[in-house]
Each structure stands twice: as structure tokens, then as C-alpha cells.
Symmetry: C2
Subunit: 439 residues, 2 copies
């Protein structure tokens, strides 16, 4: 009986793993060069942590475990509750601003669906302990820095930005009481994915007694800061809306200093579905609008307090691996996942087997990526194995090595060969082989 | 209410994470230079996978999840079953030998105990699809290559090696039937951790009816290949024992070619507790014998078939992070976990804030690890922040930058300062600052 993997989970064979490592390496490299420090938490948390953040309904979306010690545990579906718990536990001793990033696996407990994995890798970037606009701008910059790092330009992706305080002001001017704002965010969040008639109907059902859909409809179409500025909707001239529009304009000025305005624009329907955002919110999408969000985040003021901590504002975003890799695949820009070797050591005859092993060990000890064939094989077959493994060069040990301590080096891309004394080769194993010496 | 982490799990604050990343990076670097390809599987597997490998009793040691879809799932406690499942699923298309490594988190479902984490990071290295002795030797070399890479020498650690076929021959000569060999391995495995009288009693209870403890006792003390060769125990001259001793001597000859015999020796009590080993077995320990095994592995012939696959022999080992980090901590050889920045950008006055942000963005885009202070602060305070963050140099932008497009660069270790045109600085941001120009 062959045992299958769990539905909705993923096996990473080396070719897939190379892609996975490539994106995770880019996340880490970009985070570090932006001055963020890496952290991680366990994959298991108490169910209470998720209840405290998201209420009882979250329980149905988690993988739940009842441990033999009577603990009620869950596999983490997202990083933010763990981040808040960890910061709360040491809040007095952590220097601020806390600029942290994490990379790890997360699980959704829902039924497996076609095209939707129950398991994903996610990058989380957060700045906690400051409400400075520069932190919001820096998070957006880190997101764009990553997108550029993996080869995406402003013609491929766009970061849509909005501010919940602006939206709250608009809602207020339209007569929607604060108690209904979360419902309004949820509807606005769905606006781009719902037909106009359906949206109007749902809006009427949910908010029709306090605000008509016609009042907000013209605003929902706004997709740039210029359009927002010149929008002649009556709410745009009220003091509260004007104030938060100015704040948003300040953010865009900092984004201009960061040199990423080509990637960024305003969009009224970006509000994020999650309850805990309180300020700037943003999501990146492919320009063609084919895929779900590549990344999303925003500012949260009350999250740490909700989990038993102090009043500490934070801003951050998360980016999973599925959508960005799907986008790169569509654009045909995934890297070549072929693993490479620096050197493949070829034994020309049976007497050279020991010499070959000694050379392999020596090269690896010097940090040179080296491999060889376990079984005695014809030299041609060893060359073939070397090519299959992506070796840049072969080093052939044989009679000449035993008698004169020299080796033959073959460049596997040009076919050029040269002989070198063993000491000279070891002194610079990756030296290029001049094509002129091609026999 | 502050929410606690799950008992027996670990939070990795940046300083701990730096250590964790350091060991994981070493594992990956060493694996790649030894010609291994990285793979990974999901953290969730079906309970059936672990039952098929280890029988029903394993269920009590796992974190068990009953999903809403009625699946019986478990969090992986080890990598080998996943490896076997993945290889079995594609066994016809994978080029052999399959040289794979994996790095990831694993969980034990047992009650949390003091000093024993329910969660650990583990490195797994395997060669599948060959029974060549070179594969056994190469696995041991990879283990030693890692130990050397993290600064451990033969005076710090030892790899003890044995062979289950040699032990089976010894057991056979002593009259222990094959059906009792697993019980005998379990006792031999515990021999070093049990008092002599206790061990003799347990041995008598479990195997006394077929073989006396006195017969095997002199052999259990053997701790080197020389001692084994010269051992005058009667079983050592029987043909089956002689045959497997010769095989072990061949392995040590290859280890000599690999240049690691200083690290390696024979030890009779190393047999590995796990049921599935069938050939060479090995474990690394600290020389002082204070800690549990740093790593352990061996050859397994029947594992893939037990999980529904073909007859394919493999050899491999696993190494968790807890013991090796404990050893390095005891030896005071853990690396300095301080994160480093290449550049900290200092704004000398309020008018330079935009210039500072533009320079930060430019440097990060060039791959330079750069940070800055969000809030306007005195220059001295910014220098202090730069030191705290481990910045190698500060770049000060101010009046001179606006008027003459020059910046001041300060080396944070020597205190040396110099002025450079902005273009010259950007052309080589990491250039050293001559101490002679120290003002």
C-alpha cells in the first residue's frame, strides 16, 4: 500500500524546493538589508491566542489539537498573534522601534479545495512601537524592494494604498455609525470581486437603513491619488475627510523620497478584510488583475493591547509564496531551478578511486561544491553524470596524478581542457580554463 | 490577560534566531558542497504513514489532529517516513543515487518535560538507491564536515561507528535467535547509560533463557577498531563475525581516504534503538560524554518497501539543533549573534530628512544593509543608535550634501571620518576609511 500525502499539503522535490529556497532567500536578504531582524515562534499556539485576537469563529478555521496534557492547541494560521504575544512578553526590554521579520509555514484548517493549499510559506514584516508615518512608508518600501529583487517592475505589479481613517471619515460623513464600519469595510473589500447589482443589493441589506449605496458608489471607482484629489463628491470637502486625505498625501511624499511611486497608487476599495487595521492599509496585485493579492498589510493600533499588552502601534505586511510564484510562472520569470556543482571529480581508472575520494574531501573542506560517482564507471559516463548534475568543471585524476601529481581540468560549458599541478589546482580550484588550450 | 506560549515550545527572539539561522545556514552550506539537493515535505502527514513505519505504539508519541474532513493526521516527529513516501511516489523518475537533505521543524507529542523540548529543528541527510559502502562513508563525512564547519575538532567530538550485521553475527554466535535481536539491540543501546548490575538483571530477564550476559559483557566495553581486532573473545574468530569485521574495516579505509579517521572510531554499544537499521550505524557524541548524541544515523534496507515502495537501500542521519547548540554553549563557541548593518544614514538637520530617505532607499536597492532613525534626533543620538544596531559605518548627510553633494563617512570601529562626493560614495559604499584622515 502506497501512502499518500495529506490533501492540500505540498511535497517539495528538489526542483520545487530550489524555487522555494530562492524566494525565501530573497525575503531574508531584502529584510536584512532594510535593517529588520529575524524572529520565529513555534508552529503550535494555544487556541486562546487566536480566540483573543479573532473571537470564537476563528476556531473553525484552524487545525485543532487536544494534547494529552489537556491543552487546547492550534497550528498557526498566521504570524501576527505570535508576534504580538512575543512582543508583549518582553515589551519593556526590547529597543524600539521593533523592526522584525519572520519566514515560516502556516496552515489553514479548512477543507482542502482545488487550487487552494491548506499550507503555505509566509513572509511577515513588522515595525512595532512607533506611529511614525516613516514606518508605514518603510514597510511599503520593503515590499517593493522585494518585488524588484525578484524581477518584477511597475509594469507587472502595483501596490494599492488606502487609509482606514480616511474611510472611517467617509463612512461617518455618509451617516454610517462606527458600530457598522466593520461591516462596511467587509463590503468595500469585496467590491472589486462582486457585480454592481449584487453589491448594491448586499449593501442595501446590510447598511441600507443608514446609508444608500448610490452615495458611496462613485468613490469606489477611484484608483489614483490624483482622481481622489479632484473628485467632486461632497464628502471630499468635509474637514475630517480633508484631514486624512492630507495624511495620505504626506505618506505619498515619503514614498516619493523612497523612489517607489511608480509602484504605488491610491485605491478606494483597498481596506483589508481583517478587523484589526486602524490606519494605512495596502495590497499588491498583478497589473492585469488576474490573481489574488500578492501581499497585504497595514497599521494596527490595538492588537497588542487586545492580547494583554500595552498600547503600542504597529505596521506590517505578510506575503505568502503561492500567489507570487504563480505570477512569476505566468510571466515566465521563475529562475532556473537547476542545482549547480563547482567540481565533479572523475576517476580515470580503478587505481585512482582513493585519490578521487581524497580530492573530493579536500575540495569540500575548502567550501567547493563537489561531487563524484560512487561506482567505477567509464570516464565518458562520469562526464555525463557531471553534466546531469550541472557541474561547471570536471577534474580528472588518473595515471598523471599518481606519477606527476597533475590533474586534467575540463570546462563543462566550453569543453576546454588543461593540465595543472595538483597544488596549483587546489590553490584556485575555480580558476577559468583558457579556451585556447582546448585540445 | 497575557497569553503564554505552549509549554515545551520555543520562541526565537532575534538573538536566538541568529544562532538558529547560523546553524541552519551551516547545515545547508555543507549539504550543498557535498552534492546533496534540498527537499521538504509538509509538517502534517497521515497517521497511517507513522503506523506503517513504527506500528501502533507510535501514535501515543505524536501530536494527533482529527480534521473536519475526517482525516486522521499527525504533526511530523521525524523526516524519514516523509522521505520514504516522497521517494516511493516518484521512484521511477528520480536519478540515483538520490542524495537529498532537508531542514525543518519536528514535534514530539509527549508531555513537556524539563529540559526536553517538544519541538526541535532537524537536519536530515540521506543517500537512497545504492548499497555502496562509499555512501555510508560519505554520510559520515558530511556529518564530520558539518562538525568541523561549526568549529568542532576531534578533541571535542567523536563519531562512534558499528554495524548491525556484525552485531547480528555476534548475537547469532551467542545463540540469540533472530526473533530476539531487536530486544538485544535495545539492551545494548542502553548499556552505556545503565549500571552493570541493572543491565545484567534486565538482560537476564529479557534474554537469559537464550544467552548469558557474561558472554557479551567483555565485548560491550570495546571502544576502538584496534581493540575489536585484537579482542580474544571466541565469537571474533567465527566466519560470520570475521566477514562483517572485514566489511567494517573496509569502511574505515574509505573514511581514511576521506581524511576523517581522527573523528571516527568503533564502539560496540552503538547500535541505534530504532528498528529499521540493517547495516552500518553511527552516532556522534561530545568527547566528555556529558550530553546526548549530537547526531545519529545508519543504513536501512527495508524502509521504503515497508511503506509500499520497492527494495531500495538507503543510508542517512539526522541532527537536531538542541544538543549541538548545548555543546557549543558549553565550549563557549557560539557565534556572536549580533546583527550587523553596513551603513547607518545620519541626517544632520531637519532639511536633510528627505535626502537621508533617498540615500537609504538607494543603498538598500544596491544590496547594502542600511538603516536610519525615523524621528529627528541629535546627531550624537543617531550615532548611538547606529552603534546599538552594529552598524559598521555612518554616512552623514547635511548642509554639505545639499550644497556640494558630498557626504561624511564615519568608521564606527576606529572613529575615522572622511568626506567624499556622493557619487564616489555610492560607487563603493563599503570602501574602508583611512585612519590617517581621522580628524
Amino acid at each position: 500500500m502506497k501512502i499518500q500525502r495529506v490533501r492540500g499539503t505540498r511535497d517539495f522535490y528538489p526542483e520545487d524546493m530550489a524555487i522555494q529556497s530562492w524566494i525565501a532567500d530573497a525575503w531574508r536578504r531584502v529584510s536584512l538589508r532594510n535593517g529588520f531582524l529575524q524572529y520565529d515562534g513555534p508552529i503550535l499556539e494555544t487556541m486562546d491566542l487566536y480566540r483573543a485576537k479573532s473571537g470564537d469563529e476563528i476556531v473553525g478555521q484552524l487545525f485543532r489539537i487536544d494534547s494529552r496534557s489537556g491543552e487546547e492547541l492550534a497550528i498557526r494560521p498566521e504570524m501576527t498573534p505570535t508576534l504580538a504575544r512575543m512582543i508583549n512578553a518582553k515589551v519593556q526590554s526590547l529597543p524600539r522601534p521593533i523592526k522584525w521579520f519572520g519566514i515560516g509555514p502556516f496552515y489553514r484548517g479548512e477543507r482542502p479545495q482545488r487550487g487552494r493549499s491548506r499550507e503555505f510559506l509566509q513572509w511577515n514584516v513588522d515595525v512595532v512601537g512607533t506611529d511614525d508615518l516613516l514606518a508605514d512608508a518603510e514597510c511599503i518600501f520593503v515590499a517593493v524592494d522585494l518585488l524588484r529583487e525578484i524581477g518584477l517592475g511597475p509594469e507587472d505589479v502595483v501596490v494599492w494604498i488606502n487609509d482606514r481613517r480616511l474611510m472611517a471619515a467617509v463612512f461617518g460623513e455618509l451617516g454610517i455609525p462606527e458600530s457598522r464600519h466593520l461591516a462596511a469595510y467587509a463590503l468595500v473589500d469585496k467590491a472589486d470581486r462582486m457585480e454592481r447589482a449584487k453589491l448594491a443589493a448586499v449593501w442595501a441589506e446590510s447598511l441600507g437603513d443608514v446609508a444608500g449605496f448610490e452615495a458611496i458608489e462613485p468613490l469606489l471607482a477611484v484608483e489614483s491619488l490624483e482622481a481622489l484629489r479632484s473628485c467632486d463628491h461632497s464628502v471630499m470637502r468635509t474637514p475630517t475627510v480633508t484631514k486624512w486625505l492630507a495624511e495620505l498625501e504626506s505618506l505619498f511624499l515619503v514614498l516619493q523620497d523612497f523612489g517607489i511611486t511608480e509602484f504605488c497608487d491610491f485605491k478606494m476599495t483597498i481596506v483589508r478584510g481583517l478587523a484589526y487595521y486602524t490606519g494605512c492599509v495596502f495590497e499588491a496585485f498583478d497589473r492585469q488583475g488576474k490573481l489574488r493579492a500578492v501581499l497585504g498589510g497595514g497599521r494596527y493600533d490595538n492588537l497588542l493591547r487586545a492580547l494583554g499588552g500595552p498600547d503600542l502601534s504597529g505596521v506590517g505586511f505578510g506575503m505568502g509564496d503561492p500567489v507570487v510564484l504563480e505570477l512569476l510562472r505566468e510571466l515566465n520569470r521563475l529562475p532556473d531551478p537547476h542545482a549547480a556543482l563547482d567540481v565533479f571529480v572523475v576517476a580515470a581508472d580503478d587505481e585512482s578511486a582513493s585519490t578521487a575520494v581524497r580530492l573530493v574531501a579536500d575540495l569540500r573542506g575548502r567550501g567547493v561544491r563537489t561531487d563524484f560517482a560512487y561506482r567505477r564507471q567509464a570516464v565518458a559516463k562520469q562526464f555525463k553524470a557531471a553534466s546531469a548534475r550541472g557541474a561547471e568543471r570536471c577534474v580528472i585524476v588518473g595515471t598523471e596524478t599518481r606519477e606527476r601529481d597533475t590533474v586534467t581540468i575540463k570546462d563543462m560549458s566550453t569543453g576546454a581542457q588543461t593540465q595543472r599541478p595538483m597544488v596549483a589546482f587546489l590553490a584556485d580550484p575555480l580558476a577559468s580554463i583558457p579556451p585556447s588550450q582546448n585540445p
